[in-house]
C-alpha cells in the first residue's frame, strides 16, 4: 500500500519545466515519480497566470506558487488546508532567502544539497517540524559550522 502523509511531495521547477528539486514523502517507484513530475509540470505551466494557486489532481490537491523564475509546488490531501500550504511554501522561500541572502534559481542549482538540507530542517516526513524561522536557520548554520570546522581540519596537510 501507499503510505500517505500531509504533504505528499514537493517539486521545484523552472519556467522552462526543468526540475530543480524534488522531495517525496511517499514511497513510489521511480517510474511513477517521473510520470507524475512530467504530468504536474505540464499542468501547472499551462495554467494562466491569473488563476488561483490550487489544482485538483487525482485525489490530491496541488498547491503551487511562482517565485521569480521558479515554481514551488506541493501535493496535499483533500482535507488539508491550502492556505496553510501556501504559507509553508512561502516559509521555505523565506528560509532559503535568509540562508543564501536574496536567493535566486542559480543558488538552488549550485547548492542543491543545501536546499535539501534546509528543507529537511523545515519539513520532515511531510510534516512541518519547525515553525520558527530563527530556529530552523540556526540549526542549519550550526551544522554548517560543524562542516566548516571539519573541512578546515581536513584541509590541514596530513603528516
Amino acid at each position: 500500500g501507499r503510505i500517505l502523509c500531509q504533504i505528499h511531495f514537493i517539486l521545484l521547477f523552472s519556467r522552462q519545466g526543468k526540475l530543480r528539486l524534488q522531495k517525496w514523502y511517499t514511497t513510489l517507484p521511480d517510474k511513477e515519480k517521473k510520470k507524475i513530475i512530467r504530468e504536474i509540470v505540464q499542468i501547472i505551466l499551462s495554467r494562466n497566470q491569473r488563476t488561483s494557486s490550487f489544482v485538483d489532481w487525482k485525489d490530491l490537491k496541488l498547491v503551487y506558487k511562482r517565485y521569480a523564475s521558479l515554481y514551488f509546488c506541493c501535493a496535499i490531501e483533500d482535507q488539508d488546508n491550502e492556505l496553510l500550504t501556501l504559507e509553508v511554501v512561502h516559509r521555505y522561500v523565506e528560509l532559503l532567502d535568509r540562508y543564501f541572502g536574496n536567493v535566486c534559481e542559480l543558488d538552488i542549482i549550485f547548492n542543491f544539497e543545501k536546499a535539501y538540507f534546509i528543507l529537511d530542517e523545515f519539513i520532515i516526513g511531510g510534516e512541518v517540524q519547525e515553525t520558527s524561522k530563527k530556529t530552523a536557520v540556526k540549526a542549519i548554520e550550526d551544522s554548517d559550522m560543524l562542516q566548516e570546522t571539519v573541512e578546515e581540519y581536513m584541509n590541514k596537510p596530513a603528516f
Binding site: G1, R2, I3, L4, C5, Q6, L19, R20, L21, Q22, W24, Y25, T27, L28, P29, D30, K34, N48, R50, T51, S52, S53, F54, V55, Q79, N81, E82, L83, L84, L86, E87, F112, E113, Y116, F117, D120, I124, G125, E127, V128, Q129, E130, T131, S132, T135, A139, D142, S143, L146, Q147, V150, E151, M154
Partner: protein, 1121 residues
C-alpha cells in the same frame, strides 16, 4: 546524454577510490543526476559507505543521497540498520538529526521494527532539536510498524506538554495525523486538546488542533457544541486567513454533524457565510476560490443561507479564472430551487452564448443539464420550458455533448407523458431543420440529437401533426451523410411513422394518399440499402421488402394498416439502471455451486475409475428423488414464477407503478393553467425559453392570487377553531405547483429489490493497521523489540526504559501504589507462613515459577523474531480469533404500519444522573411523516429532559421529517436518580401522515425499557486493580447459572461485552473475568465460567440490588443463546 554517461563513468572511477572525500563528492554528484531523472540505484552500496563516514560533512551527503533514492525495495537497506542505530545514539546532535531525517524518507517495516525503541528513547532526549525530530519520525514508524503505536503512545502524549514549543507542535502534529485516520481512539484526549486550543497562540498548532476536532466531533456531538464558541471567537479575531479558513471549515463540519437533534446555530452559519462572502469578494483569486469551495459545503446543509448570495455567485461566472467559474457553477447546481431554476438557467444560457473556448462552454452545457435534471427533475415545474432549453442548446456549435442532450430529450419524452405532444412537435422541427445541425458530423457532436429526434417522432408518432412532412424530412438524401447509428434509427423510425400515416389514411378512406406514401418509401429507401453501414443496410433492405409487399396488398385493396401498426404495438417503460443487479437470487439457487461435478484429479481417475462412477450414480439418484415429489415440483414452479415476476425482461401484466409528482400538496385542487401552444414557436429577437419564463411568472402570480383567496376562505372557516398548523404562508417551495399534471414514470425495479447501497471500504488502507485502542493496558507481548544479547537476557531487570514507562501507565495514582505495597507486605507475610507450614509446597511453587519464567522467555524471544504472536491471555474484549456474528444494540421500541422505532441507551461517565436514548425512526409507509413529537410519562425516578419552560406534559419534537422509506436518528436525554433497578416508561409518539389523500394524525404507544445494563459503561480494568477490588471485601456477591448454552465461549463473552457493556479483564481457557462500571460509580466484577452445556456467572458489586438485576438481565440474554 553523452556528456552524462561520461560523467557517470567519471563518478564510477571516483567511487573506487579510498578517499572518503572524493567518494562523498561523487555521491553528491549522483544525487544531482538522480534528480535529473537518472537511475543511480547501482551506487546504493557506495551511498551506505558515505553514510557511515565519521565526518558529518560526508555523512550528511550520504544520508541525503539515501533519502532521495532508497525505497522499500532497496535490498542493501538492511545493512544500514546498525549504522543508523550508531548515528542515532551519537553524542553529536547533528549526526542524530541527519540520521532521523534520512530515516523519515526511507524507513521500511524492518527498520521500523528494529529501531522503534531507539527512536522512542530519543523522544526524551535532552535537546529539543532531537526530541522534535524523533516525535515526528515516530509517525512514520507507526505507519510501517503499527505494533509500536501502543507502547510508544504514553510518551507521545507526554510530549504534548513539552516545555519546548517546537516539540509540542510536533507532538500535536503526529497525534492529529493519527487521530484524523482513526478518530475514535483519541476521543479521550479531547479535554487536553481543548486546553491547548484555548491557550495556544501558534497558528500552525491551532490549525492542526482544529483539524483534529473536526475529525472528533462526528463521534462526540457534545464536543461540537463546546467547540462552536471558541471557534467563532477565533473567526472574529484572527487576521490569519489560513486560520480563519480552517475555523470556518471546521464550524461547518461541526454544524453538519450536529444538525440532527440540536438547536440550530443559525448565528454561526450566518457568520461563516458572511466571512466567506468577504473571501469571495476579495481580489485574491486564491481566497475567492476557497471561499466558493467552503460555500459549497454549507450549501449541503443550509441551502437557504447560501441562496441569498446568489448574486455574488452569479458574478463569479464572469471571473477571468476558469477554475473559479467552474466552482461557481458547482455551487449553482446546489442552489437551484423550483423558484429560481428558470432564472438561473437563463443566466447560464447567456453565458453559454458569450463563452469563449469550447471546453468551458461544454462545461456550462453539462452543468445546465445537470442542474435541470438533478434528483429526478425535482426542480422543473414546466417541462415545455426544459424541452425548449434543450432545443436551444442544439444551436451550440462544436460541442462534444450532443449525446447528452439527446439522452435528456429521450428521457424526458419517455418519462413525462404529458410532454410528449410538445416534445414531438419540437423534434419534428429539429428533423425539418436537420441540415443546420447535420453539418457537424463528428462523433458525439450535436448531430446526435437527431438520433433522439428521430426516435421520439417515430415512437410517439400518434402525436405528430404533420407526419407526412416529417417523413419526407427523414427521407432526404442529406440524411445519408449522418453517422451510421443515427441513420439506422432513422430507418427504423420512418417505418413507425409510415405505419401511423398509413393507418390514418386508411381510416380516412384516402386510398390514393396511402399508396402515394408507400410509393415515396419505395423510391427513397434504396439510398439506405446502399449504405456502407451494415446496420443501416440490413434494416433498410428488410423494410424495403416489407413495404413492397404492402404495396402489392394495397394494389389488391386489402387493408393493411392494422397489421403494420401491430409491428410496433406496446409501450416501452424505462428500466432503472440498477434493476438487473437488484434481481434477488431465487431461493434454492446457489450461484457458487457446480452445475456439473468438477473434474476430479486425473490421477485418481486413472486409478479407480469404477468407484467414482459408482459414487456418482448414487449421488444422482439421491438428488433425483425429491424432484419427483409433487410438493417440490410445486415449490419450484412457484419459485420460477417469482423469478419471472422479478425479471425485468419478462413483460408483466400489471402496469408499472407510477409516481405522482412529489412535494406538491393537493395538486388536484389547483387549477392547471393551459398554455396556449399556438403561440408561434420562434419570436424574432427573443429566444423561446424566455417566453416560458414570462408565462411561468404570470402563472405563479395567478396561482398565488388564487391560493390567497382560498386561504382567506379557509381562515373564515377555521375561525373559532384552534388550529396552529399551516397558517403560515409565504411563497415557499411547496407552493409552486407544476404547470402540467406531470407523471414522472419511475424507473422499474424488481419487486423485492433491497435498497442497499453498501459502499465498500478500501481493504488496502494503510491507516487501518493504526486503528488501535490506545486506552487499554499494554500486554507483555506488545513490548517493542529491544536489542540485547541473548545470553545476557535476564528476566528480573528489564534494562530498557520501556518497562518503566509501562509501570507508570499501569499505576495512574500514587495512592494505588501505596495500597499495593501494603498488600505486597501482607502477601509476603502470608508467604512466610506458608513456607513454614510445608516445604513441599514451596518446592512446587518454585517449579511453577520456573515454568512461568520459561514461558516468558519463549514469548520474548518470539516477539523479537516474529511480529505476529498470539497474546497469552486475551485482554479487554479484543477477541480477534474468530469472526463474531453481527450484533446490534438497537432494540425494537414500537412499530405500526407507518413507522418503526428502535432504540439504544447510553450513559457517560461525566454525568452520573443522565443517560442518552438514541431512537431510530424508520418510515415504513409510502407517505410523508412530519410533526413527530415524542412524549414520555415521567416516573419519580426517571424523567425526560425537556427544554426550559415547558411542562411535564409537553412532548419533544423530533427534529426532522421522514420522507417515505427513510430513517433517521434522534437523541433524547433522561435524568435519573437511582440506577439500581430497571425502569419502564410509557410514552407516545404522535405524528402527521401526509399523502395524496391528505393528512391524518397518528399515534404510536411504546414502553421505553431502561435496563440496568444501560447504566453501565464499558470501562477497561487492569488485572491487578481488578484483583484488589475483589479483595477489598466491600462488594456484595451473587451468582447465576444458565443451562443449555451451545454457542462458543468467544461469542458468549462478546455478547456480554456488547449487550451488557462489560470488558474482559482476563481470560484463561473457558473462564474469564470481566468488569464494568455504572454511571454512578458502582464497580461490577464478573467471573464467567463455561461448563459443558452451561455457563455460571459469579458477580460482585457495591450494590446488591443492582447486581441481582444485572445478573437477571444477563440470564435472559444467555437463555436466548
Amino acid at each position: 546524454a553523452k556528456y552524462i554517461s561520461q560523467c557517470i563513468d567519471e563518478i564510477k572511477q571516483e567511487l573506487k577510490q579510498d578517499n572518503i572525500a572524493v567518494k562523498a563528492n561523487a555521491v553528491c554528484k549522483l544525487t544531482y543526476l538522480q534528480m535529473l531523472g537518472y537511475d543511480i540505484s547501482w551506487a546504493a552500496f557506495n551511498i551506505i559507505e558515505v553514510m557511515s563516514a565519521s565526518k558529518f560533512t560526508f555523512k550528511r551527503i550520504g544520508y541525503l543521497a539515501a533519502s532521495q533514492c532508497f525505497h522499500e525495495g532497496t535490498d542493501v537497506i538492511m545493512l544500514t540498520t546498525n549504522q543508523i542505530r550508531k548515528d542515532l545514539s551519537s553524542p553529536n546532535q547533528y549526526d542524530t538529526g541527519v540520521a532521523l531525517t534520512g530515516l523519515s524518507c526511507f524507513v521500511t517495516p524492518d527498520l521500523a521494527r528494529d529501531l522503534a525503541n531507539d527512536i522512542m528513547t530519543l523522544m526524551s532526549h535532552t535537546k529539543p532539536y532531537i526530541r522534535k525530530k524523533a516525535v515526528l519520525i515516530m509517525y512514520k514508524v507507526f505507519l510501517k510498524y503499527p505494533e509500536s503505536l501502543r507502547p510508544a503512545f504514553p510518551r507521545l502524549k507526554e510530549k504534548l506538554e513539552d516545555p519546548d514549543p517546537g516539540v509540542q507542535s510536533a507532538a500535536v502534529n503526529v497525534i492529529c495525523e493519527l487521530a484524523r485516520r482513526n478518530p475514535k481512539n483519541y476521543l479521550s484526549l479531547a479535554p487536553l486538546f481543548f486546553k491547548l486550543m484555548t491557550s495556544s497562540t501558534n497558528n500552525w498548532v491551532l490549525i492542526k488542533i482544529i483539524k483534529l476536532f473536526g475529525a472528533l466531533t462526528p463521534l462526540e456531538p457534545r464536543l461540537g457544541k463546546k467547540l462552536i464558541e471558541p471557534l467563532t471567537n477565533l473567526i472574529h479575531s484572527t487576521s490569519a486567513m489560513s486560520l480563519l479558513y480552517e475555523c470556518v471549515n471546521t464550524v461547518i463540519a461541526v454544524l453538519i454533524s450536529l444538525s440532527s437533534g440540536m438547536p440550530n446555530h443559525s448565528a454561526s452559519i450566518q457568520l461563516c457565510v458572511q466571512k466567506l462572502r468577504i473571501l469571495i469578494e476579495d481580489s485574491d483569486q486564491n481566497l475567492k476560490y476557497l471561499g466558493l469551495l467552503a460555500m459549497s459545503k454549507i450549501l449541503k446543509t443550509h441551502p437557504k443561507s447560501v441562496q441569498s448570495h446568489k448574486d455574488l455567485i452569479l458574478q463569479c461566472l464572469d471571473d477571468k479564472d476558469e477554475s473559479i467559474r467552474l466552482r461557481a457553477l458547482d455551487l449553482l447546481y446546489g442552489m437551484v430551487s423550483k423558484k429560481n431554476l428558470m432564472e438561473i438557467v437563463k443566466k447560464l444560457m447567456i453565458h453559454v452564448d458569450k463563452a469563449e473556448g469550447t471546453t468551458y462552454r461544454d462545461e456550462l452545457l453539462t452543468k445546465i443539464i445537470d442542474i435541470c435534471s438533478q434528483s429526478n427533475y425535482q426542480y422543473i415545474t414546466n417541462f415545455e420550458w426544459y424541452i425548449s432549453i434543450l432545443v436551444e442548446l442544439t444551436r451550440l456549435e462544436g460541442t462534444r455533448h450532443g449525446h447528452l442532450i439527446a439522452a435528456q430529450m429521450l428521457d424526458v419524452a419517455i418519462r413525462v407523458k404529458a410532454i410528449r405532444k410538445f416534445a414531438v412537435s419540437q423534434m419534428a422541427m429539429l428533423l425539418d431543420n436537420a441540415h443546420l445541425i447535420a453539418s457537424n458530423t463528428q462523433r458525439n457532436g450535436i448531430c446526435e440529437v437527431l438520433y433522439a429526434a428521430a426516435w421520439i417522432c417515430g415512437e410517439f408518432s400518434e402525436h405528430l401533426e404533420e407526419a407526412n412532412q416529417t417523413l419526407e424530412a427523414m427521407l432526404r438524401p442529406k440524411v445519408t451523410t449522418l453517422p451510421g447509428h443515427i441513420q439506422a434509427v432513422y430507418v427504423q423510425n420512418m417505418v413507425k411513422l409510415y405505419a401511423s400515416i398509413l393507418q390514418q389514411k386508411e381510416q380516412a378512406g384516402e386510398k390514393e394518399a396511402a399508396q402515394e406514401i408507400t410509393q415515396l418509401m419505395i423510391e427513397r429507401l434504396p439510398q439506405f440499402v446502399q449504405s456502407a453501414d451494415l446496420e443501416v443496410q440490413e434494416r433498410a433492405s428488410c423494410i424495403l421488402q416489407l413495404i413492397k409487399y404492402i404495396q402489392k396488398l394495397q394494389v389488391k385493396e386489402v387493408p393493411v394498416a392494422e397489421e403494420v401498426i401491430a409491428l410496433f404495438a406496446g409501450e416501452l417503460n424505462p428500466v432503472a439502471p440498477k434493476a438487473q443487479k437488484k434481481v434477488p437470487v431465487p431461493e434454492g439457487l446457489d450461484l457458487d455451486a457446480w452445475i456439473n461435478e468438477p473434474p476430479s484429479d486425473s490421477e485418481s481417475e486413472d486409478e479407480k475409475p469404477k468407484t467414482i462412477f459408482h459414487e456418482e450414480e448414487q449421488r444422482h439418484t439421491r438428488h433425483r428423488q425429491p424432484e419427483i415429489d409433487e410438493e417440490e415440483l410445486a415449490r419450484r414452479r412457484e419459485a420460477r414464477k417469482q423469478e419471472q415476476a422479478n425479471n425485468p425482461f419478462y413483460i408483466k401484466s400489471s402496469p408499472s407503478p407510477q409516481k405522482r409528482y412529489q412535494d406538491t400538496p393537493g395538486v388536484e385542487h389547483i387549477p392547471v393553467v393551459q398554455i396556449d401552444l399556438s403561440v408561434p414557436l420562434k419570436v424574432p429577437g427573443m429566444p423561446m425559453s424566455d417566453q416560458y419564463v414570462k408565462l411561468e411568472e404570470e402563472r405563479r402570480h395567478k396561482q398565488k392570487l388564487e391560493k390567497d383567496k382560498k386561504k382567506k376562505k379557509q381562515k373564515k372557516e377555521k375561525r373559532g377553531k384552534h388550529h396552529r398548523h399551516n397558517s403560515l404562508h409565504t411563497e415557499s417551495e411547496e407552493d409552486i405547483a407544476p404547470a402540467h399534471h406531470v407523471d414522472i414514470i419511475t424507473e422499474e425495479m424488481p419487486e423485492n429489490a433491497l435498497p442497499s447501497d453498501e459502499d465498500d471500504k478500501d481493504p488496502n488502507d494503510p491507516y487501518k493497521a493504526l486503528d488501535i485502542d490506545l486506552d487499554k493496558p499494554l500486554a507483555d507481548s506488545e513490548k517493542l523489540p529491544v536489542q540485547r544479547h541473548r545470553n545476557v537476557e535476564t528476566l528480573k531487570s528489564p534494562d530498557s526504559e520501556l518497562p518503566l514507562e509501562e509501570k507508570k501507565s499501569k499505576k495512574p495514582k500514587k495512592k494505588e501504589k501505596k495500597h499495593k505495597d501494603k498488600e505486597r507486605d501482607k502477601g509476603k507475610k502470608k508467604e512466610k507462613e506458608k513456607k513454614k507450614s510445608s516445604k513441599h509446597k514451596k518446592k512446587k511453587h518454585k517449579k511453577e515459577k520456573e515454568e512461568k519464567s520459561k514461558d516468558k522467555k519463549k514469548s520474548k524471544k518470539k516477539s523479537h523474531h516474529s511480529e505476529e504472536e498470539p497474546p497469552a491471555s486475551v485482554q479487554n474484549g479484543t477477541l480477534e480469533d474468530e469472526p463474531l456474528p453481527p450484533m446490534s444494540s438497537y432494540r425494537l421500541l414500537a412499530e405500526n404500519p407507518y413507522i418503526k422505532m428502535t432504540y439504544d441507551i447510553q450513559g457517560n461517565l461525566q454525568n452520573d444522573s443522565k443517560v442518552t436514548v438514541s431512537v431510530i425512526f424508520e418510515n415504513k409507509s409510502t407517505s410523508f411523516l412530519k410533526s413527530m413529537e415524542l412524549n414520555v410519562l415521567d416516573s419519580l425516578n426517571t424523567k425526560m429532559l425537556r427544554p426550559e419552560g415547558s411542562s411535564v406534559h409537553d412532548g419533544i419534537p423530533v427534529p426532522f421529517q421522514l420522507p417515505p422509506g427513510i430513517s433517521n436518528e434522534a437523541q433524547f436525554v433522561f435524568t435519573l436518580q437511582s440506577i439500581v433497578m430497571a425502569q419502564k416508561l410509557k410514552g407516545t409518539l404522535s405524528f402527521i401522515v401526509k399523502n395524496d389523500e391528505g393528512s391524518t394524525h397518528e399515534k404510536l404507544d411504546f414502553k421505553l425499557h431502561f435496563s440496568c445494563a444501560s447504566y453501565l459503561i464499558t470501562t477497561p480494568c487492569y488485572s491487578d486493580a481488578f484483583a484488589k477490588l475483589l479483595e477489598s471485601g466491600d462488594l456484595h456477591m451473587s451468582s447465576i447459572k444458565v443451562d443449555g448454552i451451545s454457542i462458543s465461549f468467544q461469542h458468549l463473552l462478546a455478547k456480554i461485552c456488547f449487550h451488557h457493556h462489560f470488558s474482559v479483564v482476563e481470560r484463561v481457557d473457558s473462564c474469564a473475568s470481566m468488569y464494568s462500571r455504572s454511571i454512578q460509580g458502582h464497580h461490577v466484577c464478573l467471573l464467567v465460567k463455561k461448563g459443558e452445556n452451561s455457563v455460571s456467572i459469579d458477580g460482585k458489586c457495591n450494590d446488591s440490588t443492582l447486581l441481582s438485576n444485572l445478573l437477571d438481565e444477563m440470564k435472559e440474554t444467555l437463555s436466548k443463546c
